[in-house]
């Protein structure tokens, strides 16, 4: 159950003008709802950890992620024979500390994940709004374009673009963004289609509000919760795409550390030194799961149908 209890509802409308009371209660409701969802809490915890890791990487990481130490090559994790507490998750074939590399790698995953989602979201939302609001010919053209994009796997698109263009974070962000906007476009279009028939949109039109203003003030704000949810969930898939591309050598280029590169470098040692590929793999899995848990909980929270008495 995600609804709030009767006493909390009763406390709500004390004074609608007092913003502080309202905000405080909303935050409390947020926490109450969060504490009732195990997956939501776990997801948020993972996401927060990831952010802390990425932001404070230089202070948290025990070693410089690029530091090569030939005396400490292929040291296993601390609990195995020959492992030490100095390198908790062991070292790789060049003696670099795996934990430090994973911590630094989270930066790339987050930066690429969030920026690509922003690019994809911006393109997709604009196209979705236009397509849904104006309909007709414009809608047809945009939706056929979407179909064309959907008929080719995103990863294939990225591979084609990245082999032609110079690899690097900006290229990666743009390529992932440009190839994954279709999800937003479709979702926002379908919501806009229903919103534009709402009475208040009709009313706004009869009051002489321009189409641009209607989209900006009456439609966009009503789709924001969907945008937030799709964005959160697509950060997860973007992280996977980034890792895959880096794994294939098309994404992030060394010496920058990325989980995908670590996987790729570790694959030759899987039989002898399993920890090289396993830990970045676990990092990807946990991150993606965490974001999905959080995203799904957020979706339930923002879904008006499950919202009950408060909005």
């Amino acid at each position: 159950m995600k609804s709030i209890s009767g006493t909390e509802v009763a406390k709500l409308p004390i004074d609608k003008n007092d913003r502080s009371i309202k905000t405080k209660n909303r935050f409390k409701i947020f926490l109450t709802k969060l504490s009732r969802s195990k997956t939501g809490s776990i997801g948020l915890l993972i996401v927060l950890t990831l952010f802390v890791m990425a932001i404070f990487a230089p202070w948290i990481a025990p070693f410089n992620p690029g530091k090569i130490d030939t005396t400490q090559m292929l040291v296993p994790p601390f609990w195995s024979d020959g492992g030490s507490m100095a390198h908790i998750l062991g070292t790789d074939n060049l003696g670099r500390d795996i934990l430090s590399r994973i911590i630094y790698g989270s930066r790339i995953s987050l930066v690429v994940g969030i920026l690509s989602v922003l690019v994809a979201g911006a393109i997709g939302v604009v196209f979705g709004l236009i397509s849904g609001y104006y309909g007709g010919m414009v809608d047809n053209i945009i939706m056929r374009l979407v179909d064309a994009f959907l008929s080719v796997p995103t990863i294939l698109f990225c591979i084609v673009f990245l082999t032609v263009l110079d690899p690097g974070i900006p290229t990666l962000v743009i390529v992932i963004g440009v190839t994954s906007w279709v999800l937003y476009a479709r979702m926002i279009r379908s919501e806009t289609l229903s919103l534009r028939e709402r009475e208040y949109v009709k009313a706004a039109r009869t009051m002489g509000v321009s189409n641009f203003q209607i989209i900006k003030r009456h439609i966009l704000p009503n789709v924001t919760s969907s945008i937030i949810v799709i964005s959160t969930l697509s950060v997860a898939s973007t992280i996977i795409t980034e890792s895959s591309l880096s794994f294939l050598g098309l994404g992030i280029q060394p010496p920058i550390v990325s989980w995908g590169i670590m996987l790729s470098e570790g694959k030759e040692y899987v039989a002898t030194s399993w920890w090289l590929a396993t830990f970045p793999g676990v990092a990807i899995t946990v991150t993606v799961l965490g974001i999905i848990f959080f995203g799904e909980w957020l979706r339930d929270l923002l879904d008006p149908r499950s919202q009950g008495t408060n909005s």
Binding site: P13, K16, N17, G135, G136, R198, E199, Y200, K202, A203, A204, R205, T206, M207, G208, V209, S210, Q213, R217, H218, P221, N222, S311
Partner: protein, 326 residues
């Protein structure tokens, strides 16, 4: 009394995949300033399409294919969208039958009221806020300052309809189109809203085009009544003579199907049959299959809307045209 709006031979057709549907088929009428005119008819007879045609807001696949709509002498069908936007909300505005969904749920009442004022009347936000609160008071909302900061879901249906009326009247339009304004409200609130509209009409000297199928509402509010059937005007009369002496059998039927408080009836009378679908209209008079007085001529020839020289009322019926059976 001057003519505010004149609709001449308006034709709004819908181009569907099943063929052309003439929803409004040659409608003509005029509205006088300061008067309330009711547009009456069953569902699907073209009332709402007529009102949206006046606003130039007929959605595809619908299109105004003929006729003119003269507002203060200017033909609205010839205006560009930009010019039309200056008229909407400012000169002509509209209220709808669903007060529960006519307000944007995520914007505060005040923000929505201000939007219209900032669009047409003023640049200053403070001024807009003051006039908005003023308007809320005028439509009888208690604690207007308080309601200004509320979200629509915190208000009841009647209150929301009041807010809608405040919004529609905030720029002091010359014409208010009310599309079934009380249908979704319960009777006591209905009476309040009707009284409010009556008072505001006098205060703001606004003409009202009232679209409804409720003849009770018509009697309460209207000066003149236009009865529509299957996309055409079948009768036009002042409210007194319409109730006292309805000429068209359809109008008679409508009046008979209204429940009366002083007569005992077990079963409410109703007009047999349904409104013909616009793409499947009968030959001759559109009403003849449902008409108790149908004659041979009705089946083959459409009567003209003829004016009674004495009263100025108009009716489209062979009976009134003096046609005798035989």
């Amino acid at each position: 009394m001057s003519t505010l709006l004149e609709v001449n031979d308006l034709k709004t057709y819908f181009y569907t995949t099943n063929g052309i549907v003439p929803s409004v088929d040659g409608v003509s009428f005029s509205l006088e300033s300061g008067q309330t005119t009711a547009l009456v008819g069953e569902s699907g007879c073209g009332k709402s399409v007529t009102s949206f045609s006046i606003m130039q807001l007929v959605n595809a696949p619908g299109k105004i294919v003929g006729g003119e709509i003269l507002y203060k002498g200017e033909d609205l069908t010839k205006l560009s969208d930009r010019e039309m936007r200056k008229i909407r909300g400012n000169e002509i505005s509209m209220i709808f039958q669903e007060p529960l969904t006519s307000l944007n749920p995520i914007l505060k009442v005040g923000e929505q009221l201000d939007e219209i004022l900032l669009l047409h009347q003023t640049k200053s936000k403070k001024e807009a806020k003051n006039s908005s609160i003023d308007m809320l008071k005028k439509v009888g909302i208690p604690r207007a300052e308080h309601v200004y900061n509320m979200h629509p879901h915190e208000l009841s249906g009647g209150m929301r309809q009041r807010v809608m009326i405040a919004m529609a009247l905030s720029c002091n339009p010359s014409l208010l189109i009310a599309d079934e304004p009380t249908t979704a409200l319960d009777v006591t609130i209905q009476a309040q809203i009707l009284r409010l509209m009556k008072n505001l009409k006098l205060e703001f000297e606004t003409s009202i085009l009232l679209i409804t199928h409720d003849l009770g509402v018509v009697a309460e509010l209207a000066d003149k009544v236009i009865v529509m059937y299957a996309g055409q005007v079948v009768e036009e009369a002042d409210v007194m003579s319409l109730y006292a002496d309805p000429k068209h059998p359809y109008t008679q039927g409508l009046i008979q199907s209204t429940p009366k408080i002083d007569s005992e009836m077990d079963v409410l009378t109703s007009i047999q049959g349904n409104v013909p679908t616009p793409n499947n209209k009968p030959t001759g008079c559109y009403f003849h299959p449902r008409c108790p007085f149908a004659m041979d001529v009705c089946k083959s020839k459409m009567p003209e809307l003829t004016i009674n020289e004495k009263t100025g009322n108009k009716v489209r019926c062979w009976l009134s045209a003096g046609h005798q059976e035989g």
